[in-house]
């Protein structure tokens, strides 16, 4: 017997859960992570958390519909948005508000969507990004088509697609990885492993030691990082995106994180999740981890934190106000955009709606 192929998966973490940095300053600077950039990350994550908290409050008071919190996943989701270029295409799942906000989707648009208004997915800035994808992992197959289009047109653009730990059990995930490898497409797959697919824990999702290794089967360069470590997220995403842009093929990053909230506002995680596990996860969360590091370095002060928080809250407040002031669409809007030109059969039903028939 001879070994015909051998594989391994690397795990990277630079800023540990106690906010100690295991990377020299030179490497940090080389990665473009000067103090200003890290503060920028910190402010972005504060904004996301403020948005997320407000979204849950709006749901609880009946002003938006069911909402999936992104609490705890701010580092990886923010880093995706900040390392992508405007010309790239993002293919979200449904817990990716942070990335969309970094991509230019307005908070107003996000509130509109979760408030039950399709206009929220008519992004005014990132016009080629796909809308939220609610069925699991089907967006991975869309990324193949998007990246194939870039390749056909010889454009130096990258598709970045996100799914969760549960999503890696789906057929579409495997089909997409296989095709990405076959055609060596400019795609970065990000698996945000938040440990829970609603009530099913990571251990019950797969016997694989890592979810990253699933990419190896498709011929996709794959690795695992600490998804709550902003610095690792930035460095490894930047590298994967640059590689894809240079024509060096696809990659997969499994970002280890934790879903600190319920699956959605319609869920109660205390039914299936151990309180001790949750308490431990809070000790590793990304925002405080970066905050402590920046405080330690003297790049951040308590006064600055307070100012940043007030700024974030003010921005969220303004978006909530503009969302709540948005008039609902006319009921006939459901008929719009079904087809480019409305077929006669549909026009007749539209008349019935308008006449309350």
């Amino acid at each position: 017997m001879i070994t015909v192929a051998k594989f391994s998966i690397n795990f990277s973490q630079y800023l540990d859960a106690d906010s100690n940095l295991h990377l020299d300053n030179q490497a940090l600077t080389q990665a473009g992570l000067d103090p200003a950039r890290l503060l920028d990350y910190y402010q972005a994550m504060l904004l996301v958390r403020s948005y997320d908290t407000k979204a849950i409050a709006l749901q609880r008071t009946g002003r938006i519909g069911t909402y999936p919190s992104c609490l705890g996943q701010e580092a990886i989701s923010t880093a995706i948005g900040k390392t992508m270029q405007a010309c790239d295409v993002f293919l979200p799942g449904y817990r990716d508000a942070a990335t969309l906000l970094m991509r230019g989707t307005t908070m107003h648009e996000l509130f509109l969507y979760w408030g039950g208004d399709e206009r929220g997915m008519d992004f005014s800035h990132n016009k080629e990004d796909l809308p939220y994808n609610v069925p699991i992992a089907s967006q991975c197959c869309h990324s193949i088509g998007v990246a194939y289009a870039f390749k056909l047109r010889k454009q130096p653009r990258v598709a970045v697609v996100v799914c969760g730990d549960g999503g890696t059990s789906e057929g579409d995930f495997y089909e997409a990885l296989n095709a990405a490898g076959t055609w060596q497409l400019p795609i970065v797959f990000v698996v945000i492993n938040n440990q829970w697919a609603i009530s099913v824990p990571r251990a019950k999702q797969s016997y694989c030691q890592t979810l990253a290794q699933k990419g190896i089967a498709g011929g996709v360069a794959s690795e695992q990082i600490d998804g709550n470590d902003t610095i690792a997220c930035h460095i490894h995403l930047q590298r994967a995106i640059d590689n894809a842009r240079k024509g060096n093929g696809p990659s997969l990053i499994e970002a280890i994180s934790y879903r600190l909230g319920d699956h959605t506002t319609a869920d109660d995680a205390s039914r299936y999740r151990d309180q001790e596990e949750l308490a431990n996860a809070w000790k590793k969360e990304p925002l405080v981890r970066l905050e402590k590091y920046l405080l330690k370095r003297g790049d951040l002060t308590d006064a600055k934190i307070e100012t940043f928080k007030q700024q974030a809250n003010a921005q969220v407040k303004q978006s909530v106000e503009s969302y709540l002031a948005t008039p609902a669409q006319d009921k006939s809007a459901m008929f719009e955009y079904m087809y480019e030109t409305m077929p006669d059969a549909l026009k007749e039903q539209l008349d019935q709606l308008n006449q309350n028939k």
């Binding site: 295409v89 399709e118 206009r119 997915m121 008519d122 992004f123 016009k127 080629e128 796909l130 809308p131 994808n133 609610v134 069925p135 089907s138 991975c140 197959c141 869309h142 990324s143 193949i144 088509g145 998007v146 990246a147 194939y148 289009a149 870039f150 390749k151 056909l152 598709a159 057929g171 579409d172 089909e175 997409a176 296989n178 095709a179 076959t182 719009e336 955009y337 079904m338 087809y339 480019e340 077929p343 006669d344 059969a345 549909l346």
Partner: protein
């Protein structure tokens, strides 16, 4: 002017549009060097290259999902699913994404793709190769379902489907892929979508059918004519949306209506057409509306399939019942 069988007409339409429009790409299993198992894509890869006539990995959901991604980037993908029996793996992609991309994004993105598949029985194929499940697709908002019944209509309707800015399921009646030839000019002229085609004028009975079953329907009509029963034959062609105006005008004239298809009866497109006539054409009717269809059984394997598919004889008997009612 040249002669084309239905499969050659499909090939000619794909060839024409690949040459005419750079945004058209063809993809699927074995569509490249092999030219498709029925030869629908014969020689296209040689002419247009591996980048635009794409042999995909064997994964139907990928084929459909990838087409959606390409379409959001402005391409017009024409995806082949080798047999309709394998289309269900692509169903989630088509229903959850292709059909609603325009609506979900308020027109920011759209999905101008075609999902082609051979369908229907009668060619003695193995299991899962003979079903007619067009009704499953016809139920879904946001898409079109088109079925041609002759080489010329296959050519004109496929061109129209590729040029349509919204997703189209294009089902090809494989039993008549090579049954007949028609002469037409390969000039890129499309036929209109969303309308029926009246193939035979008549005054006694309206028969609505589509795909390969129009062969038996037209044969039955000829024989019925000799018996003094004058049938009007309508090729539904547009399974979704249904051109009810043409059907209702015909029924108003004839007072009788039969729908012939080879799909299982319950919840079929025949049921939808019958419901339209019942809802809006009842006062024209001298007799009940009849559906002549396949049975609510699993499509039998080849030894029994001739008993499953509606025959000319069965259509004639149904016509006589309607006339004698």
């Amino acid at each position: 002017m040249s002669q084309y069988t239905l499969i050659e007409a499909v090939n000619a339409a794909l060839d024409y549009e690949l040459a005419a429009d750079e945004s058209v790409v063809v993809l699927g299993e074995d569509v490249g060097a092999n030219g498709g198992v029925f030869r629908a894509t014969d020689k296209l890869q040689t002419r247009f290259g591996e980048d635009r006539v794409i042999d995909t990995p064997l994964a139907e959901s990928l084929i459909c999902g990838m087409s959606i991604g390409l379409a959001t980037q402005g391409f017009k993908p024409v995806a082949e699913i080798q047999f309709m029996g394998f289309i269900y793996a692509a169903f989630d992609q088509f229903i959850c994404h292709a059909s609603r991309m325009r609506n979900r994004t308020r027109g920011r993105l759209s999905c101008p793709m075609v999902l082609r598949a051979p369908f229907g029985g009668g060619i003695h194929a193995p299991e899962h190769h003979s079903e007619s499940t067009e009704a499953i697709f016809a139920h879904v908002p946001g898409i079109r379902v088109v079925i041609p019944s002759s080489p010329a209509r296959a050519y004109g309707l496929l061109l129209a489907a590729i040029r349509d800015p919204d997703p189209v399921v294009f089902l090809e009646p494989k039993r008549i892929y090579r049954a007949q030839s028609e002469t037409f000019e390969n000039n890129g002229e499309a036929l209109p979508l969303d309308v029926c085609f009246t193939l035979r004028q008549g005054s006694d009975l309206t028969i609505v059918s589509w795909g390969a079953m129009l062969q038996e329907t037209l044969q039955a009509s000829e024989q019925l004519a000799q018996m003094g029963i004058d049938c009007e034959v309508i090729d539904l062609a547009s399974i979704k949306p249904i051109d009810k105006k043409t059907i209702l005008e015909s029924v108003e004239k004839t007072g009788r209506c039969m729908i012939v298809c080879e799909a299982a009866k319950s919840g079929s497109v025949a049921s939808e057409a019958a419901a339209i006539v019942a809802e809006e054409g009842l006062t024209s009717l001298f007799a009940p509306i009849l559906r002549v269809t396949g049975y609510d059984t699993v499509m039998p394997l080849l030894k029994l399939e001739q008993h499953y598919l509606p025959s000319t004889e069965k259509i004639m008997q149904a016509a006589k019942r309607l006339m004698e009612f």
